[in-house]
């Protein structure tokens, strides 16, 4: 229970020695996962897990320890380890825990009781139904490789000697389907999902049609020639890119000279159509949250305002170092100290849907998916190239499928080369929302 977590954190913080700042974060999670295959349950997992992280700042030095258990003896040893670790840190006069800043927490409805009342057999039935409708959806479906149902409830509390005392809980559930389509010479894989805080509201049709469409529409794909052209990024792809752009707006990257935008505040770094917002207070966002990892209220921050770089995000430490208050962007689990990051990003949507965007393009490519983005983007230099697949756009219409090519540019140029932002915003199961994005002058490398 959440009250128990708060009480536990209170008891840790109460053991602070004179001159010490102590922070305790405790987490309790319960989750189930069902995987079905060919009409049977392949695996069923049920689990609870707990953990605590203790941070101590003493004599301007910081130490940390964590444990995957809330047992008293384990907490005792984590506290003494954190205390010992603090003696080895460098002296840093800006080190301090967050303090209440008067910003009140948004009231978001992140917990749905229904997740507790959804019977095990109903979970299995849901997964089996998704498998069945997916298998029969299209004759080109060779195999439904896996179908998963999962749900989780998590509770977290943060308490500090500086007066922070917050707790929250949320619930979630999802289904996913992975489909193989094609024949002997050509097989493509596609993935679909549906997410909801209430498992009874999961949309099996959406998950099924998405997986089947994404696998079948790439059948017969060929490798395109190398050229520079305009691309339309599918919402899932845009989401991944803006997540990386968001990482360059972290106060920690700025402070440590690792952000390509460090000296660019107030410059026009993007096309005028780009407004990038981090807003965990928006309940539609998958990663909406009421408090950040230091227990401060989350808030809406405009990072890029109509192309102008407006703001970086901070936790209390990077804010203090750079002369700004925390923006409520401390991110962490119980096994790490707070770092800085965006929490729920989105671009301000335009007005037109994807089909209308495509209709304006004579020769281009719709990028359906990217792979290897984590290794292909350097968020420090801004260079990127990533494996991709998608569909040719010819004379304003979608044409043949393409695969085994890369798209490349730099993040800096890409932001300036945005021609139009789509109106088709999708709140994906990710820390960044998606929408279609039209970008000019991208290098496509193929044959």
């Amino acid at each position: 229970m959440l009250d128990d977590l708060l009480t536990l954190c209170d008891s840790v913080v109460a053991r602070a020695k004179p001159g010490e700042q102590v922070e305790a974060i405790a987490v309790n999670e319960r989750d189930t996962e069902v995987r079905v295959f060919e009409g049977d349950v392949e695996s069923f997992t049920s689990a609870t897990s707990q953990g605590i992280g203790i941070r101590i700042i003493s004599d301007q030095r910081q130490g940390f320890a964590w444990a995957g258990s809330l047992d008293a003896d384990v907490i005792d040893s984590a506290l003494s380890e954190a205390r010992d670790n603090a003696t080895f840190g460098s002296i840093d006069e800006d080190l301090a825990l967050a303090e209440p800043d008067g910003v009140s927490q948004p009231e978001l409805d992140l917990y749905d009781e229904s997740v507790n009342n959804f019977a095990t057999d109903d979970k299995i039935a849901l997964a089996l139904e998704l498998e069945a409708i997916t298998k029969d959806r299209d004759p080109r479906v060779l195999l439904v490789e896996s179908v998963d149902f999962a749900d989780a409830v998590s509770e977290a509390a943060v308490v500090t000697t500086t007066g922070i005392r917050v707790g929250g809980r949320d619930s979630g559930s999802y289904v996913t389907a992975t489909v193989l389509a094609g024949g002997d010479d050509d097989t493509q894989v596609g993935f679909g999902y549906s997410v909801n805080r209430d498992p009874g509201k999961l949309d099996l049709e959406h998950a099924s049609s998405m997986a089947v469409e994404r696998s079948t529409r790439l059948l017969g794909a060929t490798k395109p020639p190398t050229e520079r052209l305009t691309v339309v990024l599918d919402p899932m792809v845009t989401s991944q890119f803006i997540g990386i752009i968001g990482s360059t707006m972290s106060g920690e990257a700025v402070l440590k000279g690792r952000s390509l935008f460090a000296d660019r505040l107030n410059d026009h770094v993007a096309a005028a159509s780009i407004t990038l917002v981090d807003d965990p207070t928006n309940p539609k966002a998958f990663t909406a949250s009421e408090a950040d990892g230091e227990g401060l209220a989350t808030r809406r921050n405009v990072l890029i305002d109509q192309g102008r770089l407006n703001k970086f995000v901070h936790n209390s430490y990077t804010g203090r170092r750079l002369g700004s208050p925390s923006t409520g962007n401390a991110v962490r689990g119980y096994s790490s100290t707070p770092s800085v990051g965006t929490i729920a990003l989105s671009l301000a949507p335009g007005t037109r849907d994807q089909a209308a965007l495509i209709a304006d393009i004579d020769n281009g490519v719709l990028i359906q998916g990217v792979s290897g983005l984590h290794s292909g983007v350097n968020p420090v230099s801004g260079d990127f190239s990533t494996g991709a697949d998608g569909l040719r756009i010819r004379n304003g219409e979608l044409a043949e499928p393409l695969r085994e090519f890369t798209i490349g540019s730099t993040l800096q140029r890409m932001l300036l080369d945005v021609i139009e932002v789509g109106g088709d915003i999708e709140w994906l199961p990710s820390s960044a929302a998606g929408l279609s994005l039209v970008v000019a002058d991208i290098t496509l490398s193929g044959a």
Partner: protein, 463 residues
């Protein structure tokens, strides 16, 4: 860990609803880390995680539950949850008699990291920071990380198996940023082994630091990478990640069972250039992916997957091996007690060839030389893969010339395997890696001699 009588009792509970097979996996993991960034020792961290995962098999279904409560009641609750999840309703009492098996680790430890003073670890960070910054004024930021982990595991099954392992790993990494007229570039170098603090007798941290810094500085002069299909020479060591992605994942028996790999049904066929012998070897002493027993209690093995281009076998875990009536190949691994095991690679490498690596470059008119690779990804269904190059150069008229900027390389696994046309005699293992599959990360090693692929697609920005 847990005593034999309690393990037997818990297994009996786990099979009380009619399970054909039950297993307890107990894990106790202690870790410590230290991070230097921006000229400061930012933090020392200690972590502890222990618990047990219990699975029960009934037919093709697996029930699984895990708990951090290792008391008799905690284990009994998890055992009942796993049994319920895999129930077939027949019930019955199975008595389990465990027979302990002793195993010898391929990676004995000389100096346990928790016996080393924290101050000594902090000193290593400072030494590396000073060395990296000493490379030149262009170095604008340095981050140095130290980490160690001791993972003790215990596996007991209803078949009577009782075994365990004590795995100690140590790692060290340096990341640098260099600032030049054309923006910033990064360089990274890391070392990691299944061994204790004696790793630092083998590695000079100032060497690692200078290499990382030099890599960042070199890239300041780099020109945009070419775009399109080019001849690619992959350098020794880290090039092994190419094979991890290009074919390793496709040789995992769980993918094979679902026909979701291009290699399904091709054992005995020529699937690669006759130059290629691909091995997955969990017994390589002190390598990052080494262990005595896997996370299902099976001894690690040296498994030849491809020999002289011919596909010999896949990699197997217990579940897939049972279904085929054969033995596991010791490749059943899991991220932690909270995860179900699945088929995973260990240390995967291409065996040495016979050609002088200098001759491979000299015989390449034009192309690129990739000295260091980053992470990668593969679509096992069609074999398309991608991976990042973090240090690369142009080859012009048989010589390595200018550095080129970062980009991805893409290709198709089966095509690349068959097209390899030169293999060097300079085999080396690469940097420690973490392989991700189905949401679980496990430590893996890879390695290769220098080799040449006639056509890979480079995703540069130069049109």
């Amino acid at each position: 860990m847990i005593d034999q009588a309690l393990l037997e009792k818990t297994l009996t509970t786990a099979t009380s609803r009619g399970g054909e097979f039950a297993e307890i996996f107990v894990e106790d993991r202690q870790s410590s880390g230290a991070l230097l960034d921006d000229n400061r020792i930012e933090e020392l961290t200690s972590g502890r995680s222990r618990g047990a995962g219990i699975r029960v098999l009934v037919g093709d279904s697996t029930g699984f539950a895990h708990t951090a409560d290792l008391s008799e009641t905690g284990l009994a609750a998890a055992a009942r949850a796993a049994a319920d999840a895999a129930r077939d309703g027949t019930g019955g009492v199975t008595t389990v008699d465990l027979s302990p098996q002793q195993v010898t680790s391929p990676s004995p430890v000389s100096i346990y990291p928790d016996s080393v003073a924290k101050q000594r670890k902090v000193e290593l960070l400072n030494l590396a920071n000073d060395a990296a910054r000493g490379v030149g004024d262009a170095i604008s930021q340095v981050s140095v990380g130290y980490g160690d982990v001791r993972r003790r595991i215990q596996i007991a099954t209803s078949d009577g198996l009782l075994t365990g392992d004590d795995q100690v790993k140590t790692r060290f990494s340096v990341s640098c940023v260099a600032n030049g007229d054309a923006g910033m570039q990064t360089g990274r170098e890391s070392a990691g082994h299944t061994m204790g603090f004696e790793m630092f007798d083998q590695y000079d941290v100032t060497d690692l630091a200078r290499k990382a810094a030099q890599r960042a500085v070199t890239k300041l002069q780099a020109r945009p990478a070419p775009s399109g299909t080019v001849t690619t020479v992959i350098g020794k060591g880290g090039g092994g990640v190419l094979f991890h992605e290009a074919c390793g994942h496709g040789l995992e028996a769980d993918h094979v069972a679902k026909q979701s790999t291009v290699f399904a049904g091709r054992v005995g066929e020529l699937v690669a250039s006759p130059l290629v012998t691909l091995i997955d070897d969990g017994t390589m002493p002190h390598e990052w992916g080494a262990y005595a027993v896997d996370d299902e209690g099976r001894p690690a093995q040296r498994n030849v997957l491809i020999e002289d281009g011919v596909l010999i076998d896949f990699m197997w875990d217990e579940l897939r091996a049972r279904a085929e009536g054969r033995a596991s190949s010791g490749n059943g691994r899991r991220q932690s007690y909270k995860h179900l095991p699945m088929v995973r690679m260990t240390n995967t490498y291409i065996a040495n060839g016979e050609t002088d690596p200098g001759d491979i470059i000299a015989n390449t008119d034009s192309g690129i030389f990739v000295a260091q690779l980053g992470g990668g990804q593969v679509n096992t269904v069609n074999g398309d893969f991608v991976f990042g190059m973090t240090e690369a150069y142009l080859i012009e008229n048989g010589e390595i010339t200018e550095p080129i900027r970062e980009g991805n390389l893409i290709g198709n696994g089966p095509e690349v395997l068959t097209s390899i046309d030169a293999l060097g005699n300079d085999f080396e293992m690469g940097s420690p890696g973490t392989c991700g599959k189905d949401g679980q990360g496990v430590p893996v090693g890879d390695g290769t001699p220098t080799l040449r692929v006639p056509a890979l697609t480079v995703g540069g920005t130069a049109a």
